[in-house]
Amino acid sequence: MRRYLYPFLVISWWLACGFLGFLSFENRHFWIAAFIWIIGGFILTALVNRLNRAEKRVNRLEHSRRKQAEYIALAVHELNTPLAALRGRLDMLINENLADLTRQQRNQFKPVLTASRRLDALVSDLLDAARIETGRFRLRRQPTDLRPILNECWTEIQPLLNQEARHRFSLPSGDLQINGDAMRLRQCIRNLLSNAAKYADNGPVRLVLKKTDSHYIITIADQGIGLNTDEISSLGGRFWQSESPDRQPGTGLGLFIVKQLIHSHHGTITFHSAGLGHGLEVTITLPRSTN
């Protein structure tokens, strides 16, 4: 931009002043020509200086953002390296049984594998949050069917649900096409369902999708411990933590990431709770595929 803007300004200045000066000189108003020349020169210099300063500021910010992103990438690399060794060894021991462990020994290692998966999810959350913060978050959008995503997430969550409770999973017939990033949409649904299961207090969990002409409306709800109504507006904020003693402390990044992901899909997310002990209802709207 600067490459073309500054020469353009300077050339314009010379042409304009030359023309005015010529007219004034022709009319024998030499002092008017000189005045226009000098004042115009001052204005142009001030303008170019100001543009230069603004540009330097933008460059400094961009440089700092790049450094920040690179630092985060390196920090994640350093966290992932020992985590990969831990997960890999555990997988060889437990899932592949390469060390001929007894069933009892394998069972003792299983919680370590689960813990390493949680650690992996935390590192991923930190990286996602940092990507969002530094404006380097990219979706890989393509025609995607929501049905297998919702089916898969609902199946995954079953071990965490109380099988005595009356859960509800309802999808309409027909296609559920969306122009979206399947991996990220799965991440959102998985996160919301696991929150619902965690706070359902052994009660029922509901996942319902409805279609309108232009949107899908997905509701994920539980009837568990709920939230103070005055906390609802802060849900999905970065590092948000509930003040309720019944809620487990976390990084406060999960819902923040979900909210940003849904917004990146041009969707909306709203939370509703009738208060403590009345569960939480999360409603997502996502635009339907136009083709």
Binding site: N80, A85, G88, D91, V123, R136
Partner: protein, 131 residues
């Protein structure tokens, strides 16, 4: 006379972290591959200049000496190495490096935490048409 056993496919494992290197080498060997471990990027470049290239390469990106991208650039320029499958196995989770590798023509890009040693072995065996 008993037939000579077939020569095992040789995989060059370029990994500088000793824990990961040991783990991958152990699993790849268990999967019927002969592992040649190199822990330095520069040594890996020198190895690739030799006349007997490996059958497959498993490459970390952050290495002492020369980076994984230096090695990828070298592989791309050397016609002898063009058909060798390369699996990039890195702890970098950012998209920019993955895109950079794809631009060079290397699309087997995996995050170490998401690829178990068993998956890595199976993938390399697939790329070598052993399964």
């Amino acid at each position: 006379m008993a037939p000579r056993p077939a020569r095992l496919p040789r995989v060059l494992l370029v990994e500088d972290d000793p824990d990961l290197a040991g783990m991958y080498a152990e699993r790849l060997t268990h999967g019927g591959l002969k592992v040649e471990l190199i822990t330095n990027g520069l040594t890996a470049l020198k190895r690739l200049e030799e006349s007997d290239p490996p059958n497959g390469i498993i490459l970390d990106l952050m290495l002492p000496g020369a980076s994984g991208f230096d090695i990828l650039n070298y592989i791309k320029q050397d016609a002898r190495l063009a058909s060798i499958p390369v699996i990039i196995c890195t702890a970098f989770a950012d998209d920019s490096r993955q895109q950079q590798a794809a631009t060079l023509g290397f699309t087997d890009y995996y995050l170490k935490t998401h690829l178990t040693p068993g998956d890595l072995t199976n993938l390399m065996r697939q790329r070598l048409h052993l399964t």
